[in-house]
Assembly symmetry: C2
Homo-oligomer: 385 residues x 2
Amino acid sequence: MKDSFSLNQVRSLYPALANKTYFNYGGQGVLSHQVLAQISENFAHIESLGSFSIAANNWITEETRLLKEAIATEFNTKPETIALTENTTHGCNIALWSFNWQQGDRLLISDCEHPSILAIAKALISRFGIEIDYFPVFANESDAVAISTIQKCLKPQTRMIMFSHVCWNTGQVLPLAEIVKVCHSHHVLVAIDAAQSVGVLPLDLPSLEVDFYAFTGHKWWNGALGVGGLYINSKILETLEPTFAGWRSLVYNFPEIKWRHDAQKFEVASSTYPLYGALRTAISEGNAFGIQRERYNRICELSKYLWEALQNIPNIICVKKEPPLCGLVSFEIANSSHTQISQYLETKHKILVRSIPHPDCLRVSLQYLSTEDDINLLLEILKTL
Amino acid sequence: MKDSFSLNQVRSLYPALANKTYFNYGGQGVLSHQVLAQISENFAHIESLGSFSIAANNWITEETRLLKEAIATEFNTKPETIALTENTTHGCNIALWSFNWQQGDRLLISDCEHPSILAIAKALISRFGIEIDYFPVFANESDAVAISTIQKCLKPQTRMIMFSHVCWNTGQVLPLAEIVKVCHSHHVLVAIDAAQSVGVLPLDLPSLEVDFYAFTGHKWWNGALGVGGLYINSKILETLEPTFAGWRSLVYNFPEIKWRHDAQKFEVASSTYPLYGALRTAISEGNAFGIQRERYNRICELSKYLWEALQNIPNIICVKKEPPLCGLVSFEIANSSHTQISQYLETKHKILVRSIPHPDCLRVSLQYLSTEDDINLLLEILKTL
């Protein structure tokens, strides 16, 4: 772990950390001075080139290539397996809609998914007459229980499973590699909501053999809002066709149009390209702090520190019975409105912690940029409630 | 029309106009100094509030409300009919996928649509087994011919028609109100690619009775890349369900989820909110120059000026036989590679004009910010080719 002097130096690079105590990395990360400057510079650079020009097009092509390369490196995969999207949910839509659903097919999801996944499921039910099964994710179950629970929930009509690698509400980390093995043995595709795992867990996506892995740049990677992506396993890529499509999906030789052969066939049209380099910078700033494994270890140490301290505060019950293996620490305060406490912490103490509707709790996100001092400040106030 | 002194004052607000001759507004517009500054300020403001916080959420909610209000005002409609998207193509996808297509249903499109529309049609053919009919859009046909041509192409199985209000390649403006009447009398939905009409034509969408109108902020409105929208006729809004969906589509009262009742049900998840205010500023900068009717008149005068001058250059043939009623002037140069001429103009003369594959031509976009001097410069060089 960095010593507190160098940690403070790193933290001073992020304006958001100067005037508040920030615990909402799972909602959105923080932009560094360098990232903010790069966004402004990139917008100005495009104007200087001429926004629609051969020069700007070459610049955009190169920015896109470099960003996919940077993302692919983090996942130990090839850039061809990455489609850029606006956010995690967009990637989840691409994955869930890519299957050629027929009436009576079944989709298996966990009972802890984000409302966005429930929205997509609702749309699929309405359009194709599919049915949804739910598998329970108890915050405190063992990997073995999770795997056998999923196995029991697979039906002959189950075509796809979708769940969060790290549950957004409880911080439970699911044993992905083992679940993939079980599902693939039943010919069930595996799609992952990776909103809370990318930028937290060390990842080697090809070795996990997962089919779809949907993520965003603006949470744990500290990139700007509006750039995310979807990893698609190269084994299934060629067989899939886009739902939403556009010029970016195509190899276009007038009058012939064909789908591209790489994951870009799931991209649609123009995006906010000035943010691409900003995400690349944000990823490299993270790597300058430490490789993902080191940052993950630090995140887990901080989560454990908070979790252990919370055990000693009367009226507080952690959702997990052991320290979370990610950056999310969720807990209930007895006889309290967690929404009101979140408001109180923000308005009275400039401490940003979110409330969650189910399980009804507060959720603290700890990033490698978080400090024990931050946590101690939060603990002091929690003791007074 | 503004006198040249005040026009130069207005043009000096746009850094892109300082170092080149820009004729690609139909590809992408130009950002003012004020818009560029606002983008930077908004990104910094969110960091100052805490990107994921009650304060930031309130700010985003208000920015979203104000942008929808500004867009709705331009269209003489209500904000509830506007869904925000990433670009025009995204809106076209929402429109085309919103219909509950059955095998054998038919979609009617023009033979001048952008490759993005062909991509969406390809996806729908593959998924639902629908069939596509094409109606010819000759650059020089009269409104009466266009309407009767479409009427002849409607079949009993035709469910929807999609075409560009202003053709991206020829600059033909189609008689939308009359086409809507014909199509609705056959119970055919009308979806419009408005990439080249929004920010050019004065528009009253409710009176046109069009069903879907998909647009972007980054072309003729001079907003930043990554913010567009879709207008949906309030008469059909309640009956439609989203394809791609997410938390923004929902009224969420755990555990109950319902679709929203306004056009926001077609929005998915997080976007680059700092750009919303920038688009609002860009729209108001346009209105400070003159209302849309005045800007449209100026655009048409400039198009006429160029079109008439081109008649006198040997070897140049305009695609349209009369001055275009929009900002797009397309023309062929005999025995030339239009791609190479576009490259030559950009690299040797800093004049930005795009080439089009079909019809094989050059396309000049004229905005109210364009000048006769700009046009004269282009004409001088064209005469030397």
